[in-house]
């Protein structure tokens, strides 16, 4: 399934856990430091360098190379999303994020914020950074580069970015929760194997 940015609430409400999607359009990278600064800006009433409404936030810290006046994406895979757990519900709701690309899943307050405002979590294979870079047509720009290359806000034009698995949908369903339940059910056997 293809998604085109900016995303509407209807676009994302239509997605179900387990669906595979690819993205065309623009995605923006943001991890620990972008979350910290963007929320500070919002609380101080300052504007972000770009409007993220309907946007796709990519938990990623890429390797970029400067070639002349342009940046080239070398390796761009997802980072561990759970580090952003404490900041994500506010980030989603304040800035109108419709999709987050990451790895490893996110906590219940984020899942709840996604249900409330209409946002999905798309799992990208951790470490698949060449695959990620191949989906980037061009680096449109960078903001907050003073945070360092991994932490800056990179604006990426993408085509066929993915494949991404809908791992948390906008209806409170989470593939990770489902796996957690399966893991719990398997624990008796696991403990038996270990004799504990």
């Amino acid at each position: 399934m293809k998604l085109r940015t900016p995303l509407s609430e209807k676009d994302v409400r239509a997605l179900k856990v387990g669906d595979t999607v690819e993205i065309d359009g623009v995605i923006v990278s943001g991890r620990d430091e972008v979350h910290i600064r963007a929320l500070e800006y919002a609380r101080e009433g300052r504007k972000l360098p770009l409007d993220l409404k309907g946007g796709v936030l990519f938990h990623a810290g890429p390797i970029m190379k400067e070639e002349g006046s342009k940046w080239k994406a070398i390796a761009v895979g997802p980072t561990t999303s759970s580090r952003m757990n404490s900041m994500e519900p506010e980030f989603i709701e304040r800035f109108g994020i419709r999709a987050i690309i990451g790895k490893g899943g996110m906590s219940q307050p984020t899942i709840d914020a996604m249900s409330r405002s209409g946002c999905v979590y798309l799992a990208f294979t951790g470490g698949a950074a060449i695959q990620g870079a191949e989906g980037i047509r061009q680096v449109k720009g960078v903001e907050w580069l003073d945070l360092g290359m991994p932490e800056a806000m990179w604006i990426l034009e993408v085509k066929g970015f993915g494949p991404l698995t809908v791992a948390i949908d906008a209806h409170g369903n989470s593939l990770y929760k489902r796996v957690d339940e399966e893991v719990k059910a398997n624990l008796a056997q696991v403990r038996n194997t270990l004799g504990i």
Partner: protein, 288 residues
């Protein structure tokens, strides 16, 4: 020894480590892909294998998190060793390129060249050899952030160690980019146990532990952890770990330290031997 040779060797080692996987790790990933039955799990492993092949073909880092450079140096002491390695790390960062990951711990200032106080991290093991062996491990933060230390009591024993491994892998879930390799350090002091858990990750997956008891523990833990169902990327499946490696040391009669370092599927390492005459031998899998 001229620092330029050390610089060259360091760049070559890092390039090999970040753009290719050792054959034992690749083989374990291929086997996992064949054995998975769930569609999502299979797709994750397919993506991993295709990505590794593309990285090798294009000589680019397979993962954007090129980690922090950790060096294990063994054997003959050579002058200006640290200086040569530092120069190599800075050159590798610009040339390959690596992501500048190294920052000040409090100000978070990023110098941009992966160098700083105490970084790269060098571990020396002097030995009466006529060569110097250097192994690089580029360790990403996703898996490193899941590291755990437990100061168990002697009465908790092996049972306590097994529970600790299980709890750590369950808590980590999909965060460390499974399928992982579990490095388990048992005994020593607290810091030694942590060091052993990292050193354990340098062992080849297709070799059995030389200690029979530890080899059996590795097999048992691997079987059990793969029964959890966490699976590749925590999305469910049969392959949660590619292997478990254990290193042990004698410890205080009142202690039982146990440490776990998880290694993501991108188990990037490479070794070189610098001979007395200045010639260099390389091995992606590590010398035995």
């Amino acid at each position: 020894m001229k620092t330029s040779l050390l610089e060259e060797v360091t760049v070559n080692l890092i390039r090999t480590a970040v753009t290719t996987l050792p054959e034992d790790v690749l083989e374990a990933l291929r086997r996992a892909e064949k054995e998975e039955t769930s569609g999502i799990a299979k797709q994750q492993l397919k993506n991993i294998l295709a990505n590794v092949a593309a990285a090798e073909r294009r000589s680019l880092p397979m993962c954007q998190d090129t980690g922090i450079p950790i060096f294990f140096v063994k054997g003959r002491c050579i002058p200006h060793l640290e200086e040569g390695i530092r120069q190599g790390v800075a050159r590798a960062t610009a040339e390959i390129p690596l992501r500048p990951n190294v920052v000040h711990p409090l100000t978070r200032h990023n110098p941009g060249n992966n160098l700083g106080q105490g970084m790269p991290y060098l571990h020396f093991e002097p030995a009466d050899l006529d060569h110097t062996e250097i192994t690089v491990m580029t360790k990403g933060a996703g898996s490193e952030n899941m590291t755990m230390l437990a100061m168990l009591t002697p009465s908790q024993g092996l049972r306590g160690i097994k529970s600790f491994v299980l709890e750590t892998v369950l808590r980590a879930g999909g965060n460390p980019c499974p399928p992982t390799i579990v490095g388990l350090g048992i005994g020593g002091s607290a810091d030694e146990a942590l060091f052993l858990s990292k050193k354990a990750l340098l062992g080849r997956l297709d070799r059995r532990n030389k200690d029979q008891e530890l080899a059996e523990l590795e097999d048992e833990l691997k079987e059990a952890l793969n029964q959890t169902g966490i699976g590749p990327m925590g999305l469910g499946g049969r392959t949660t770990v590619l292997g478990v490696r254990v290193e042990a040391a004698y410890c205080h009669t009142a202690s039982l330290p146990a440490a776990i370092t998880l290694q993501c599927w991108a188990a990037r390492r490479a070794s070189a031997r610098i001979m007395k005459d200045g010639s260099v031998l390389y091995s992606r899998e590590g010398f035995e």
